[in-house]
């Protein structure tokens, strides 16, 4: 009886033993998961930077990355710059845009009131996404990857491509540089002080506004970099980053919204979960739903994510 039910359940998911025992398929999906995960991680890092310093989720983070990716497209495909250089230019440009947005739309609000700020970021999401739609229309485009095609290592169908290696390497490089920036530089110290205690940061002479502006610029640049990693695997169109944003939110929630290491781990786990579940449970339509399921399960077990800090509150 029990066995029958189990077989029935498994049957509905179209699991075939062929697939499950296929080591090469496992490895192939593992690599793809790492590659996807790295891209989710970079946008998640951007989300975490804003959350850490300001205490709210910037729902427009994906939109800033979208704008950045389109700029990278313009610089590389239309202006003919090498892709890597185009991405760097786009990162700088989106950082400037973010700096302006922070100055105009975010700084006028008292930093401790979260809800109006979240609403403003939703408004920015609408504005930026629609503007991108107006400027570049809805035609799909291809953004070339920064990394060469081909795979240095192959086991049958399992390929460790240059792109996977590049994506992973980029994310770890970004995390390493971020760590150095935050722990070794004066602006990093200021940023951490502002994240930790806004009032005390003011009292040691830190200019809070410019510091937060710096955080926004940095987050936008990292988000653009993440977008430039993920979009070559997809097609560039105005809603492409929205789906990526969901996976990245899942990653950030998984790791705990205020942990950078958590964001990277979360990104990799979501990337792996997505690819393995979709392949072995045959859930191609539910790739997005798996991300949601990950968020739900993690938050139910640990409401502040795996590595997030918990806060106590007194009445």
């Amino acid at each position: 009886m029990f066995l029958e039910v189990s077989v029935g359940i498994i049957g509905t998911f179209n699991i075939s033993l062929d697939k499950l025992s296929n080591g090469e398929l496992w490895l192939a999906q593992f690599f793809r998961g790492l590659s996807d995960g790295a891209t989710y991680a970079s946008l998640a890092l951007a989300l975490v930077m804003i959350y850490k310093s300001t205490g709210f989720i910037n729902f427009a983070q994906g939109s800033l990355a979208l704008l950045g990716v389109y700029l990278a497209y313009v610089f590389s495909v239309e202006q003919g710059l090498p892709v890597a250089l185009a991405v760097v230019c786009a990162m700088a440009a989106s950082a400037l845009v973010a700096l302006g947005i922070e100055r105009i739309f975010i700084r006028p609000f008292p930093p401790n009131r979260v809800l109006p700020l979240v609403i403003v970021t939703l408004g920015l999401l609408l504005i930026i996404d629609s503007s991108v739609g107006i400027v570049w229309q809805f035609r799909t485009r291809n953004l070339p990857s920064m990394f060469p095609d081909g795979a240095p290592i192959e086991w049958g169908i399992a390929q460790l491509t240059w792109r996977t290696i590049g994506n992973l390497g980029t994310v770890f490089l970004v995390v390493g540089l971020l760590y150095l920036l935050l722990s070794r530089t004066k602006i990093g110290l200021a940023f951490r002080a502002v994240s930790s205690n806004l009032e005390s940061a003011q009292l040691v002479g830190i200019r809070v506004g410019p510091t937060l502006g710096f955080g926004w610029a940095l987050a936008a640049a990292i988000g653009t970099l993440g977008g430039s990693l993920v979009v070559p695997d997809l097609l560039l169109e105005p809603s492409v980053m929205l789906r990526v944003l969901i996976f990245s939110l899942a990653a950030a929630a998984l790791g705990g919204l205020d942990s950078m290491v958590g964001a990277v781990l979360g990104g990799l786990v979501v990337g792996l979960a997505r690819n393995l579940l979709v392949t072995f449970l045959d859930l191609s339509e539910l790739a997005l739903a798996t991300a949601v399921a990950v968020i739900l399960v993690v938050l139910l077990v640990r409401p502040t994510g795996l590595l997030g800090s918990t806060h106590l509150e007194r009445v």
Binding site: E199, L203, V208
Partner: protein
């Protein structure tokens, strides 16, 4: 509370220091939104002295300190060594040499002790920051032992010392302390005030202390003010106020 008796601003001590009044506050008003908390207060602190502000809850003591560092909307005049502070941003006031230890310590809980001290020197540009950190590790020995520990994991007294050491890292011309004894055991409080007095004696730092523990504060202070409902009700030397009948009954409990 009785009206000003023997003690007024024109005491001999105050007159002696009139020439070198370091911090000069005139008609200071501060408001939260439409609600005015300080109704134009005047006081002075002489260079190298410790002044204490006493007063009941809600008298405006904390607001006075917050007004001095531009943390509330402020009108009036605050002059430090002749330089006007009202109208400057908090960051600029700090650069004028005013360090503020806020009520409830306000350490950076998820940064290490050493990083807290580094942050305290944020507004400084000289190369002696490391030397100063070593110096305060000597003064506050427990901080040296825990230099790599997260500030949030320190005990209340240790956090208070860290907050003061962090403020001192500015090499402040004026140190503002908001209820440094809050939540500390009597022994720790006494130790803390001894250390403050020592810092004052060696570094010559001018200090303005808001304190509920009036007897201890009056011991180390040379000048004292009593705030009542947003106005200065009494002013004088610490000894005079310590001897004042009203102050004794209201704040010293004998």
């Amino acid at each position: 509370m009785s009206p000003p008796s023997a003690a007024t601003t024109s005491t001999p001590t105050a007159r002696e220091h009139a020439a070198c009044e370091y911090l000069q506050v005139r008609g200071l008003k501060a408001a939260y939104g439409n609600f005015e908390v300080l109704h134009g207060i005047d006081f002075t602190v002489a260079k190298g002295q410790i002044a204490v502000i006493l007063g009941a809850n809600g008298a405006g003591k904390t607001t006075t300190l917050r007004a001095l560092t531009g943390m509330v909307v402020t009108r009036g005049s605050v002059k430090l060594a002749g330089e006007e502070l009202v109208g400057k941003s908090t960051a600029d006031i700090v650069r004028c040499g005013v360090a503020h230890v806020p009520q409830g310590r306000g350490t950076f809980g998820d940064m290490s002790v050493e990083e807290n001290l580094l942050a305290g020197a944020f507004a400084r540009k000289d190369a002696e920051v490391r030397a100063d950190i070593a110096k305060w590790y000597q003064t506050f020995g427990v901080l040296g032992e825990r230099r790599n520990q997260l500030a949030g994991s320190l005990s209340g007294g240790e956090q208070q010392m860290l907050a003061i050491a962090r403020a001192l890292m500015l090499r402040p011309a004026l140190l503002l302390l908001d209820e440094p004894s809050l939540g500390l055991a009597p022994m720790v409080t006494r130790l803390l005030f001894e250390q403050l007095a020592a810092v004052n004696a060696t570094a010559g730092t001018t200090m303005l202390v808001v304190e509920q523990n009036a007897s201890l504060a009056l011991d180390v202070a040379s000048q004292a003010y009593v705030l009542e409902a947003g106005e200065v009700a009494l002013a004088g030397s610490a000894d005079e106020l310590g001897a004042d009948e009203g102050v004794r009954r209201a704040y010293l409990g004998y």
